[in-house]
Symmetry: C2
Subunit: 353 residues, 2 copies
DNA sequence: CTGTTAGCGCTTTCAG
DNA sequence: CTGAAAGCGCTAACAG
């Protein structure tokens, strides 16, 4: 570990600081056994008012704070009251919202949450899972980056439950809470078709991510349902960021047979597409429906029609499931689906030229 | 704790699972003492290749994962390799970006980070600080909600360093990493003045937050510098969300003497202001410069001129400082300021009518 | 209702 | 270079 810090030469650390008070100190000061202190701390009823009082006073006087790690080390259930939340990137809106949902539920359970960003890197996923288990988290909530989760078998067997959110597990049976990706995509594309479009493009992110696959399936289902052909070059994916999405849209527009409507299957893809449309002054000519809402979508001109995911709900359901597992639920793994909502704002209702 | 989970009646939990391997198991399997295992785990050089090899093999075979909590319990420095990051709301862009910066630096130190949202609630700040110390975090990075941090003295003295980010400590001497709020605001308002505006309004968030105060000071400094008067009703704050900001702008526009330019001193305020301007079709008439950049600012029409904070840098400097404290730095607390940058995009260059 | 003893999994100290 | 014993701060399992 490269901890080359640049400070005064005095190495010291714990030596100078007055030791933190322990249960022993509290016991000594209040003249009871350490076990009685433990009882008071843990709210066990069978303590006389008088002793409870003396102990409480000593706790305040010494500013005693029980050491949670020490207690969970000895406890039968071994609970640490920590969970890990591993996701794409805490800085992106989807992950950030999920994170908040998780935090809120965790708080109800008196549990702190470690947040970790995977950056779509499977290796990083394994590293962070390992870090989490070294810290003996009570459970892991995972928006996976990797495509094989067999390695999690061991962790689960060792007593660390894992619940998946947004993307399903592969090579592993585990709980998952997902959006209705295919249905949402289908609805988006039907919406475009119903506004007269026959030339609808699909633009998606990393094709190995299951959400992309499901959304493409929804796109195709909608085309088939309306008897529309899927033209070559109309489906593009592996667009990891707005820039590549912007370029992809530019290429499409430059082609012999440009689309009149775009279904952008992910947040950042939507943003990149809009960028190009704006640059070319086509934002009022070409229809766009995006998958997943994003901040400011209703301040752009035209306002952006999207199929919104209920991210807070996905997060909340997933942590709830996790806490059920932590509490000892051993029922077979379940997959839950959270429905999407079409939000009509303008960009998706532009008719074809 | 309301943990009413809805699962099968079997309460069980730890009982059924095969116990996790411990150092003792590894020692037994490899026929060495537990201490030697400890040495191998901690990379102590003085172990013969042969023993190291046997131990390593046993570790793999048993899938042994050292218990970090147990080790830090006994360790002299007591480090838990966890820090807490307490901020406004993990879901908002500023906090989310800060969070990412902190995570990246923490990773270099092999440290996990607890993220917690305070929602501008001082009570919640104290609760989460306490939760963090119960978990014996190595340090706390705080974007404070409260206005008196005297209570942190105890924690610091007990050995938990605290570093402030974005907002300074009050009633406590502690490290802080802040933006150059006054200077940035001054630059924004001078920019508007230099485009011919004399009627410039200030719109800010919660006035008790120090950043708001500093930005107002910058606004006033700029007015004074250009010899412009501060008209009554031109300064409005305590705008906690876009909606109230939108209403405040509407009221100003309806007044007898509406401004020709707005300096919006915070993210959400900027967004609310733009909403109202768009609704009234005034977004190309009235100039806006916002403090703090936001996603999509360059996709709106007109694109939004802002004074951007270097949030990643604020976060990175703050955690670095925290890790220095954790490493034992006892030098006097320092305040660092991170400069802002004016990003010219269009909305701030609209001339007065 | 209260206390004693042992020991969670690991590192420290101190002997070989 | 290796190991035995003690103990971090706390709770479990028994006594009384």
């Amino acid at each position: 570990m490269p901890v080359s810090v640049n400070h005064s030469d005095v190495p010291r650390a714990a030596s100078e600081q007055p030791r933190r008070a322990t249960m022993r100190d509290v016991a000594a000061l209040s003249g009871v056994s350490i076990k009685t202190v433990s009882r008071v701390i843990n709210g066990v009823a069978s303590v006389s008012d008088e002793l409870r009082d003396r102990v409480t006073r000593a706790i305040v006087q010494l500013d005693f704070q029980p050491n949670l790690a020490a207690s969970s080390l000895r406890r039968t259930d071994g609970a640490t009251r920590q969970i890990a939340l591993l996701l794409e990137n805490v800085a992106n809106p989807f992950s950030a919202t999920l994170s908040r949902a998780v935090e809120d539920v965790a708080r109800e359970h008196g549990t702190l949450v470690f947040a970790g960003s995977l950056d779509e890197d499977p290796r990083r996923e394994m590293e962070l899972v390992r870090a989490a288990t070294l810290h003996r988290v009570d459970g892991i909530l995972l928006v996976p980056a990797g495509r094989d989760h067999g390695y999690l078998h061991r962790e689960i067997r060792n007593g660390t439950p894992v619940v998946f959110a947004d993307r399903p597990p592969r090579g592993l049976a585990a709980d998952a809470v997902l959006a209705t990706n295919a249905e949402g995509a289908r609805e988006a594309v039907l919406h475009l078709a119903d506004h007269g479009h026959t030339e609808i493009a699909f633009l998606g992110d990393e094709h190995l991510i299951s959400t992309a696959t499901e959304r493409l399936a929804g796109y195709r289902a909608a085309l088939a349902e309306r008897g529309l052909p899927e033209r070559p070059g109309r489906v593009v994916w592996d667009l990891p960021d707005p820039e590549s999405a912007a370029r992809a849209v530019a290429r499409m527009l430059d082609s012999a047979d440009p689309p009149t409507a775009l279904f952008t299957a992910q947040n950042l893809v939507t943003i990149g597409a809009i960028q190009t449309l704006q640059e070319r002054g086509l934002h009022r000519e070409i229809a766009v429906v995006g998958f997943d809402d994003f901040p400011m979508a209703d301040l752009l001109m035209p306002r952006v029609t999207v199929v919104a995911q209920d991210v807070m709900r996905i997060g909340a359901l997933a942590v709830r499931r996790l806490f059920e597992r932590i509490a000892g639920d051993t029922s077979p793994p379940r997959e839950e689906r959270v429905p999407t909502t079409l939000i009509v704002r303008g960009s998706g209702e532009i008719p074809p030229r």
